[in-house]
């Protein structure tokens, strides 16, 4: 059957619309994925992070993150002796191209990768006036780019600085925990490209996930615990100086 270009121009949008209806019935847009079976978080091992920036680059390429804005970034800390309340921190271009040697010696130095904590009691979803940012049933905080009005209240409300205003789409944007990947059995782009295993996606609802054994035997922390956001990024080896 030969199709003329005109026929194709009519058929394709019709097919796309029909597909949308099909997809609407399977919200995860992925076969074999039931959101009720999953509860996503991440385990970060500070003792393994080498500040190479692979995660920042991979995220940018996977998710078309615009230059100068960051869905994830890496910070470098320098803590002098007991002065944990005044660390020296830098993050050149979010750590995208790694870090220059640095002009301090001594002290304690380490890298901290950061991104959306997909908080259970997220202040960002609380303040969204229209319901454009929300929790999925499997614990991921997402932004509906077709509904967001761009008021930026969520960006103000996030204590971790993980949200930004997309410069061309004019909506709020942030880490999606690679929802389009994890619902298909893949891991996030940042975890995929981390060479040392400092980042590991965790499915807290899966009893066989290695994170459960890890949490039993290691001390972990979350960022800004006093704000009780229910953050699901668990950091092992996080120093008290980390903000």
């Amino acid at each position: 059957m030969t199709l003329t270009r005109r026929q194709l121009l009519v058929l394709l949008p019709a097919a796309a619309t029909a597909w949308e209806f099909v997809l609407a019935g399977t919200p995860e847009a992925a076969p074999n994925y039931s959101s009720a079976d999953h509860w996503w978080g991440m385990l970060l091992d500070i003792t393994k992070c080498i500040g190479c920036g692979s995660c920042v680059r991979a995220c940018a390429m996977e998710n078309d993150v615009p230059d100068g804005y960051f869905r994830t970034w890496v910070e470098r800390y320098h803590v002098d002796d007991f002065h944990i309340e005044s660390p020296v921190v830098d993050s050149p271009d979010g750590g995208k191209e790694g870090f220059p040697p640095g002009d301090f010696s001594g002290g304690k130095n380490f890298f901290v990768p950061k991104f959306c904590n997909h908080c259970v009691d997220s202040p960002c979803t609380q303040v969204c006036p229209v319901g454009a940012t929300f929790h999925t049933p499997d614990g991921v905080v997402l932004v509906d780019q077709n509904y967001c009005v761009g008021c930026r209240y969520c960006i103000q409300a996030c204590p971790y600085g993980c949200r930004f205003f997309h410069p061309t789409k004019h909506v709020a944007d942030k880490c999606t925990l690679c929802y389009h990947r994890i619902t298909k059995g893949l891991t996030t782009a940042c975890c995929e490209s981390c060479p040392t295993g400092a980042r590991q996606l965790a499915d807290l609802r899966n009893p066989n996930d290695p994170i459960h054994a890890f949490l039993k035997t290691h001390s972990v922390q979350v960022l800004k615990p006093h704000l009780a956001t229910g953050a699901k990024n668990f950091y092992y080896g996080l120093d008290g100086s980390v903000r």
Partner: protein, 391 residues
């Protein structure tokens, strides 16, 4: 950028337009409270400014959503706030508070108070104006003493509801900032209260100035008893406002929590001019001292009027600076408490100083139109059949 900021924090999200918004809604709330002094609390002395205060509130309330629309990334989607409001969001709920205040309080009160004039004007004017007044009168020509008495009672009830509504209108704006636990410059239970009282101060000062300017333009005598009373209420409200702000400051300095060092540095450097010089000295201490002088000493009319004018202008500048320091100041420091950024305000950009200036002038233009359509002056309106007195 100085020090360290989370990479996404370097650019400010809320611009001078978001400074304008609480300033404008504050003027609305304050002007209404002044009007309610006459209506509810029987402060007869300020009666000459009653209608003027209502029209001023309306002019500013009409402009209030405009800076927000200019700011939104997708203003064409702004109706979503009314279609699917997220009940936990102060911003969403505020949309309804605004609507309630505009429709059920302010417009109703103005309509009821001006109804007699509207009906008479619908009978005495010609052409387009006549149609306009007829629509406004909803086709009812009844201005019998009975109906006017009903208007008065209902209007009184509306003003009564209007007082907590005005507090809600501006207290909500304070809560929008005060409930953000991520930002220690904003997060405080005092924020809505400080916003309300600074709103009252700015609104009272505005009506006082508008009254003075209008009298000068119309070449009518200023009712000094009215002016003195307004200035007195301005003075007392200002003392409460100043006390609240000092309480916040002292509390911060005393407790010195993890954010204190960063905020303290910010106030001493980046916010020094706008906070210490403009808001505190020029905008609060100066008018307080000047007004105190007029309360303590008996001065001649001309001198009092000059002092009131200067105090009023300083007050408005000071309250604007306060909004600036809250909104912009809250975004100049990093949530890591390790760094600072700068606010680059454009001029001829969508969220720049140009549109901000225009939006501050627009309410006065609207007020001029309102004053022409619904003269708030307490002189005899033209009676049907007589030679047209006005215009």
């Amino acid at each position: 950028m100085q020090g360290f900021m989370y990479p996404n924090e370097i650019e400010l999200q809320w611009s001078v337009l978001i400074v304008l918004y609480p300033f404008i809604t504050g003027l609305v709330a304050g002007a209404f409270i002044l009007a309610s002094l006459a209506r509810i609390f029987h402060v007869e002395q300020v009666k000459p400014t009653y209608r003027l205060a209502l029209l001023t509130a309306l002019a500013f309330l009409i402009v209030a959503p405009m800076p927000l629309q200019l700011h939104l990334g997708h203003p064409e989607r702004s109706l979503e706030m009314y279609l699917t409001p997220h009940r936990s969001s102060a911003m969403a709920m505020f949309g309804f508070v605004y609507l309630w205040y505009l429709m059920a309080v302010l417009l109703m009160e103005i309509w009821l108070d001006f109804r007699k004039d509207i009906v008479i004007l619908s009978q005495t004017t010609k052409g387009v104006k006549r149609h306009f007044y007829r629509v406004l009168s909803l086709g009812s020509q009844n201005i019998s003493p009975g109906s006017l008495h009903v208007d008065d009672r209902v209007g009184w009830a509306i003003t009564l509801i209007g007082i907590p509504s005005a507090f809600l209108l501006h207290g909500y704006v304070g809560f929008i900032f005060g409930s953000v636990k991520a930002n220690p410059w904003w997060s405080s239970p005092l924020m809505p209260v400080v916003f309300i009282f600074s709103a009252m101060v700015s609104g009272i000062a505005l009506v006082m100035l508008v009254y003075m300017v209008a009298s000068r333009l119309r070449k009518t005598a200023i009712d000094m008893r009215c002016l003195d009373t307004i200035a007195k209420y301005l003075f007392y409200t200002f003392i409460i406002d100043f006390t609240l702000e000092m309480l916040d400051l002292i509390h911060r300095i005393y407790e010195a929590d993890e954010s204190f060092r960063s905020l303290d540095f910010m106030v001493r450097t980046k916010l020094f001019i706008s906070q210490v010089v403009v808001q505190i000295f020029l905008g609060t201490v100066t008018p307080l001292v000047l007004l105190a002088i007029t309360q303590l000493f008996h001065l001649r009319h001309k001198l009092r009027k000059r002092i009131y004018a200067i105090s009023g202008i300083c007050t408005l500048i000071g309250i604007f600076a306060m909004r600036w320091n809250v909104v912009i100041g809250g975004q100049l420091f990093s949530k890591s408490f390790l760094g600072y950024t700068t606010y680059k305000m454009g001029f001829v950009t969508r969220e720049g100083l140009g549109p901000a200036i225009f939006l501050m002038l627009l309410p006065f233009i609207i007020l001029y139109v309102l004053v022409k359509l619904l003269p708030p002056w307490y002189e005899e309106p033209p009676t049907p059949g007589s030679l047209s007195a006005a215009e």
